[in-house]
């Protein structure tokens, strides 16, 4: 199923790549965390954290240390091993989804051909959706096994949100897949040589981005957390390392969605105006584009208030889904007419 397209890599390269990707993901999360707090601070007329280290740069480190050294509390109403396993599901799926983001084309490194991605699966976006769907087990099981009403309500909202938005998210990508005629993410990037898909698939891009906000439970769709009404939603009862896992997974999901948007709509490692830099620049191009999308995530969080639950539902079903369907339909007609 996870067929590797185009070339063959020795097994040890796969292992090295897995370690590198995990390390990169671990490094990127605190950066995003810090960026969010700083940027949101500026947008709200504050400085953001600036006490720990130069310009507060060590704040995420301090936070993580604090969380990891805290007591592993669990309520007496919590259910069995699920309470401990749920944060792990979240973090596992986030890291697994990170594996398929292509940071560059296949490169010649010391005579071995190495793709700058974990694995180039032939089912590309489906892999992301599959792990996105499993990620919701992390939230749902976590919320349910806490044995708290707040957690349970948050989890139920999460489940409803997933069903509403994953449909539109999937449909938004169908247009791209039809145009590129491939499901491989590197293939989709290569298909964007002429023009990035953000232009011909603009509505697909919009729908995917908005659905991405909902998928990652970020504002304005953070109803699963909804600190104002549900204390902390699904993670109300979690503390210490388990809470840190959820937190980590949330920000990693933001990065994953940014990476997918970059790959599918913003031309991946391609640069505009026909500039072809050497291969080692590719990851930086991808990271730069990812940081732009991540900035958008932060920007929107600092701007928009949380939606009401019925607004969330009606927006998903009455606006996003018709828009995505229409986009797919029009793209299908154009593709057929062009051939």
């Amino acid at each position: 199923m996870l067929a590797v397209v185009g070339y063959y890599e020795p097994w040890w390269i796969q292992i090295v790549k897995a370690i590198v990707i995990f390390a990169v993901a671990l490094q990127l999360v605190p950066v995003v965390l810090m960026a969010e707090r700083k940027i949101m601070g500026r947008m709200q007329g504050r400085y953001g954290p600036n006490r720990v280290g130069p310009y507060g740069a060590l704040q995420p480190l301090a936070d993580i240390l604090k969380l990891l050294t805290k007591e592993q509390f669990r309520p007496t109403t919590s259910v069995g091993f699920l309470f401990a396993a749920a944060p792990l599901i979240s973090i596992l799926t986030a890291v697994a989804a990170f594996a398929i983001i292509p940071f560059g084309d296949a490169q010649d490194i010391f005579g071995t051909k190495v793709g700058l991605y974990g694995v180039d699966v032939s089912i590309g976006p489906l892999y992301v959706f599959a792990f996105g769907a499993i990620a919701f087990y992390g939230i749902m099981l976590g919320g349910w096994s806490s044995g708290s009403k707040y957690s349970f309500l948050g989890a139920m909202r999460g489940a409803a949100q997933l069903i509403s938005y994953e449909v539109s998210q999937g449909l938004a990508l169908v247009g791209v897949i039809m145009t590129a005629q491939t499901l491989s993410l590197t293939g989709i990037v290569h298909a964007q040589g002429g023009m990035w898909y953000v232009v011909p698939q603009f509505f697909g891009f919009l729908v995917f981005l908005v659905a991405g906000f909902a998928e990652t439970n970020r504002a304005p769709f953070d109803l699963t957390e909804a600190d104002a009404e549900l204390v902390g939603g699904y993670n109300t009862e979690f503390g210490g390392g388990r809470f840190a896992s959820y937190y980590f997974a949330e920000y990693l999901n933001v990065l994953v969605i940014s990476g997918i948007v970059t790959t599918i709509f913003l031309g991946g490692w391609m640069l505009p105006f026909g500039i072809h830099p050497p291969g080692w620049v590719d990851p930086f191009v991808v990271l730069f584009k990812m940081s732009l999308i991540t900035f958008l995530f932060i920007w929107v969080r600092a701007t928009l208030p949380r939606l009401r639950y019925d607004q969330l539902m009606s927006f998903g079903w009455k606006v996003l889904l018709p828009l995505a369907t229409l986009n797919t339909l029009v793209t299908a007609i154009v593709v057929v007419a062009a051939n």
């Binding site: 007329g45 701007t303 928009l304």
Partner: protein, 197 residues
């Protein structure tokens, strides 16, 4: 009720002379201009436009810069009449304490946080200008509500409210300020707001 009014103010002629007309409830109603409820496409467009407007606003805040005052390093100057920690005063020329131990401050204190024990001045040991002086003068700042009544009650202006507000401490007993502490100059001066600032 008799038909004829008791006071001239209530006669119809007097009311008419004031040029008062009866209140018409419909008169003050303002017509609210409402646009028709938007349909799906219009509503979506409006939501999109308003979102973009909000994003513009938040982005503009970055350029404005933070309005935070970095507290321990920067301090907001207090106004001259700010009621901070109390001060006891001495006469500048003689060096005698102004407080005569009359306990009026303690009587005025609504939080009951002042304790005064008076003692007689003697020719060998003259502390204050009056007959008596405060042998013990304690203010429990963990109870003080900084109302300033002690300052108002004092007949000799011996106690005034100062400008210090950084009064946190590690134990409650450390917050009981003795006479010596109240007489001494504060270690760090609180910035004072000048005229027109």
């Amino acid at each position: 009720m008799p038909d004829t009014p008791d006071t001239p103010e209530q006669t119809p002629a007097y009311t008419a002379s004031l040029n008062v007309t009866a209140w018409n409830p419909g008169e003050d109603v303002i017509e609210v201009q409402r646009t028709p409820a938007p349909g799906a496409a219009r509503g979506t467009w409006r939501a999109f436009r308003e979102t973009a407007r909000g994003l513009k606003t938040t982005f503009g805040r970055i350029a404005e810069g933070p309005s935070t005052i970095q507290y321990p390093e920067e301090k907001v100057p207090v106004y001259p009449r700010f009621r901070g920690r109390h001060k006891l005063h001495k006469f500048e020329d003689t060096g005698l304490e102004k407080c005569v131990g009359c306990s009026l401050c303690a009587a005025a204190c609504p939080a009951d946080c002042i304790r005064v024990v008076a003692a007689e001045n003697t020719p060998e040991n003259r502390v204050s200008a009056g007959e008596r002086y405060a042998a013990v003068y304690e203010i429990n700042l963990s109870r003080c509500i900084f109302c300033g009544y002690c300052e108002v009650a004092c007949p000799f202006d011996a106690i005034t409210m100062g400008h210090d507000y950084e009064l946190s401490d590690y134990s409650r007993s450390d917050l009981i300020f003795t006479k010596e502490m109240l007489l001494a100059e504060p270690l760090e001066r609180t910035p004072l707001r000048r005229e027109g600032e």
